[in-house]
C-alpha cells in the first residue's frame, strides 16, 4: 500500500539546510496497523506529512497504492488526499462553526456528494464511533476524546485506503487515549491501513508493528505479538 525508497528531505533555513529525513526505506502493506515512534524532532511528523502528500520530498520515491507521488499538481494532490487518505491530528482540527455531523461530512463535500447522502453517511459514522447523540453538537460542546472520535469519523467518511494519525492521543488523558486507540484498532480490523505517529510507548504497544525513527533514519522495527492484526 505504502512503499517508500530512500526518501530524503531537508529544510532550507537561510544559507544552511537541515536534513530531517536521511534516506528512509519503508513498506507498509494493506491492512497493517503501524506506529512510527521516536523522540521529539526525529522527523516523525515530516515523514507522515510526506505520506499524506501534504509535503514534498527531495530525493527517493513514494508509491501510494502503486502510484508514484512526486511533483503532483495542487489539484492532483488534493484528489489523492481526498480519495486515498484520512487524517487525524493531535489537536483534532474540527471547524468550530460546524456541528459534529457537518464536520464529519466535509470531505464528501469535495467529492461533490449530495448533501443528503453526505449527512446520512456522516450519521452512520457517528453511530459507529458512538457519538450519534452528539451529531448536532458544536465542537466546543464536546470533550477531547469525543472530538477525536469525530475527527476519526471524518477521516473515515471518504472510505480512504490509509488513515494517517499524528499524535492522535497527544492531547488526551490515558483513559480516553485507550478508547481512541481501541477505535483505531477497530478501524484497522475493518480492513483499513492505519499509520500512527507517537512518542508514547504505551500507544505504540497497541499497534502490531512499530518503526523506530531516530535522527531521520529508521533505527529498527519491533512487532508486538498479540496486538491487532
Amino acid at each position: 500500500m505504502i512503499h517508500i525508497q530512500q526518501i530524503r528531505k531537508s529544510y532550507r533555513m537561510g544559507a544552511l539546510s537541515l536534513e530531517v529525513l536521511k534516506g528512509i526505506d519503508l513498506t507498509i502493506n494493506e491492512g497493517e496497523l503501524v506506529s512510527i515512534m521516536g523522540p521529539s524532532g526525529s522527523g516523525k511528523s515530516t515523514l507522515l506529512n510526506i505520506l499524506g502528500i501534504l509535503d514534498q520530498y527531495q530525493e527517493g520515491e513514494y508509491h501510494l497504492a502503486g502510484t508514484l507521488m512526486k511533483n503532483l499538481s495542487e489539484r492532483k494532490a488534493a484528489y489523492y488526499r481526498n480519495h486515498y487518505l484520512g487524517f487525524v491530528f493531535q489537536s483534532f482540527h474540527l471547524l468550530e462553526f460546524k456541528n459534529a455531523l457537518e464536520n464529519v461530512a466535509l470531505p464528501l463535500y469535495y467529492q461533490k456528494v449530495s448533501r443528503r447522502r453526505r449527512n446520512r453517511q456522516a450519521m452512520e459514522l457517528l453511530e459507529r464511533v458512538g457519538l450519534a447523540d452528539r451529531a448536532q453538537h458544536m465542537p466546543n460542546e464536546l470533550s477531547g476524546g469525543q472530538k477525536q472520535r469525530v475527527a476519526i469519523a471524518r477521516a473515515l467518511i471518504s472510505d480512504p485506503k490509509v488513515i494517517l494519525a499524528d499524535e492522535p492521543t497527544g492531547a488526551l488523558d490515558s483513559q480516553t487515549s485507550d478508547q481512541v486507540m481501541d477505535l483505531f484498532r477497530e478501524v484497522n480490523a475493518s480492513g483499513k491501513t492505519v499509520v500512527i505517529v507517537t512518542h508514547e510507548a504505551e500507544i505504540a504497544a497497541k499497534t502490531a508493528r512499530t518503526i523506530h525513527l531516530r535522527d531521520g533514519v529508521v533505527q529498527n522495527e519491533t512487532h508486538q505479538v498479540g496486538a491487532a492484526s
Partner: protein
C-alpha cells in the same frame, strides 16, 4: 457553485461570526455606490437643465440675419445694408450639406386676428415649408405650409394650439377662415411647439403671401437651415461655404464681422456636449475612486479573515479541497458582500433621487438649470458592472492568499 447551498451556508457562517466588521465594510461599498448614483443623477439633472434651454430650436441649425457692413470692400464704403432676397434662399439651399431651409419675412408686432365675433392678438411669421424643422413644430392636425402655398401665394394659415383655444374653443378650426388685418386666411393646420406658450400662440403663413400682403417684394429678414447629422467640423465647413457665398453675392469682406450675424447652433451644442461629457467623466472618476476605497476596505478585511481562518483552510486542503474551491469560496464571499452592499447603496441612491424629483415637482419655481435628475438604465447597469468587478477584485488577493496557504504550517501543533 452559485447554487450550492453549502457555499452560502459557509458565507453566512463567517459573516455572522464578524458582524461589526461585515457591516462596516458593506457600508463603505454601499456609500461608494450611493455617491456614484447621486453624482450621476445630479450630472443628468444639469444636462437636462441645459438641454431645456435649447429645447425650442433645432440643435443642428445655422441662423443668418443680414446686417450692415462694417468694413469698406473693393471701393465700396462701409455702412451699407446687406439686403437678402429670395435669391439668397435659393442659392444657400443649393449649398451641399444644407438640409431643411427656410427664410423669414418678419411681420412685426401682434396682429388682431378675428374669427366670427371672436378676436385676439397673435404674432405672425411668414415662412417656407422647411420652417417646421427649425422650430420643432409638431403638427397636431392638418398640414404645415407647402410649396404650392408659396408658389401660388395662397392665403392659408397654420395656427398654434393656443390660437385654437383662444378663437375656436371646442370647434374644429381646419377649413375655417380667419381675418388678419382685413385679409381672409383659410386654416390648413394646427401645431404645438415644445418651445412654450409664446411659440404656441404663433400663426404661420406662406412667406410669399406675407411679402405680397405687406409690401415686402422679395426681401427676407432671416435665413435658417439645418445641417442634418453634420458634426462640428462639417457644420463649420457648411458655415464657411455659406459665408463665402453671401459675401460674394452682396460684395462685402468675408472677414467682416458686422455684415451678417450668423449663429451656428451645432458649435454651441457641441460645446455643451463636451461639457456634459466632462462632467460625466469627472463623476465616474470620483465615483469609481470612492468604490476603489471600498474595494480596498473589503480586500483588507478579507485578508484579515483569511489570516484568521488559516487553520480552517489548511484543514480543508488536508482533507482534499482543491485550490479552485478555496479561491471560489473567498471570491463568492467578497462578491456577495459587495453585491449586497452595492445593491443597498443603489436602492438608497435611487430612493433619494426620487425624493429630490418629487420635491422639484412640488416647489412652485423649480430651477431651470437643474431638471429631472434621474439614473438611466445604462448608468445603473454600469454601476452594477462596477460592483461585480469590485467584488471580484476585492476577493482576488485574499482568495489567492488563502489558496497558497501551506496546510502543514497551518495545521502544525504548537
Amino acid at each position: 457553485m452559485i447554487w450550492n447551498t453549502d457555499h452560502w451556508l459557509e458565507i453566512w457562517q463567517t459573516v455572522r461570526k464578524n458582524k461589526l466588521r461585515t457591516v462596516l465594510t458593506m457600508f463603505s461599498i454601499a456609500w461608494g455606490i450611493f455617491m456614484l448614483i447621486l453624482l450621476l443623477a445630479a450630472g443628468r439633472g444639469l444636462e437636462n437643465g441645459i438641454r431645456y434651454q435649447f429645447r425650442d430650436d433645432a440643435a443642428n441649425s445655422i441662423w443668418i440675419t443680414p446686417r450692415i457692413t462694417g468694413r469698406p470692400f473693393r471701393g465700396l464704403r462701409a455702412g451699407r445694408p446687406v439686403n437678402m432676397t429670395m435669391d439668397d434662399y435659393t442659392q444657400v439651399a443649393a449649398v451641399p450639406g444644407v438640409e431643411h431651409i427656410t427664410a423669414r419675412y418678419n411681420l412685426r408686432g401682434n396682429f388682431t386676428v378675428r374669427y366670427g365675433d371672436q378676436f385676439s392678438q397673435f404674432p405672425i411669421r411668414s415662412v417656407h415649408p422647411g420652417h417646421r424643422y427649425l422650430e420643432k413644430t409638431e403638427m397636431r392636425r392638418g398640414r404645415f405650409i407647402n410649396d404650392r402655398d408659396i408658389d401660388q401665394r395662397r392665403k392659408v394659415a397654420v395656427i398654434g394650439n393656443r390660437v385654437v383655444s383662444g378663437l375656436f374653443k371646442d370647434q374644429d378650426p381646419i377649413g375655417e377662415w380667419i381675418d388678419i388685418n382685413g385679409i381672409q386666411y383659410k386654416i390648413v393646420g394646427v401645431f404645438t411647439d415644445v418651445g412654450g406658450p409664446g411659440e404656441q400662440r404663433m400663426i404661420y403663413i406662406p412667406i410669399s403671401t406675407g411679402q405680397a400682403a405687406y409690401g415686402g417684394g422679395r426681401t427676407i429678414h432671416r435665413l435658417m437651415f439645418t445641417v442634418g447629422n453634420a458634426d462640428l467640423a462639417e457644420s463649420q465647413r457648411i458655415e464657411k461655404d455659406v459665408r463665402t457665398l453671401l459675401a460674394e453675392r452682396h460684395r462685402y469682406d468675408p472677414q467682416d464681422p458686422r455684415a451678417i450675424r450668423l449663429f451656428n447652433h451645432v458649435e454651441n451644442y457641441q460645446r455643451f456636449v463636451a461639457l456634459f461629457n466632462g462632467i460625466a467623466t469627472f463623476i465616474w472618476v470620483v465615483g469609481i475612486g470612492t468604490i476603489i476605497a471600498g474595494i480596498v476596505g473589503v480586500s483588507n478585511i478579507m485578508l484579515i479573515a483569511v489570516k484568521e481562518r488559516t487553520k480552517e483552510i489548511g484543514l480543508r486542503k488536508a482533507i482534499g479541497a482543491p485550490p479552485s474551491d478555496i479561491i471560489g469560496l473567498f471570491l463568492m464571499e467578497s462578491l456577495t458582500l459587495t453585491f449586497l452592499a452595492g445593491y443597498i447603496g443603489l436602492m438608497a441612491g435611487i430612493g433619494t433621487i426620487e425624493l429630490v424629483q418629487h420635491l422639484l415637482n412640488t416647489i412652485p419655481n423649480p430651477p431651470d438649470f437643474f431638471r429631472n435628475p434621474h439614473v438611466d438604465i445604462h448608468a445603473a447597469a454600469g454601476a452594477t458592472l462596477v460592483l461585480v468587478l469590485a467584488g471580484v477584485l476585492a476577493g482576488l488577493i485574499p482568495a489567492r492568499r488563502a489558496a497558497a496557504i501551506d496546510p502543514i504550517v497551518a495545521l502544525r501543533d504548537e
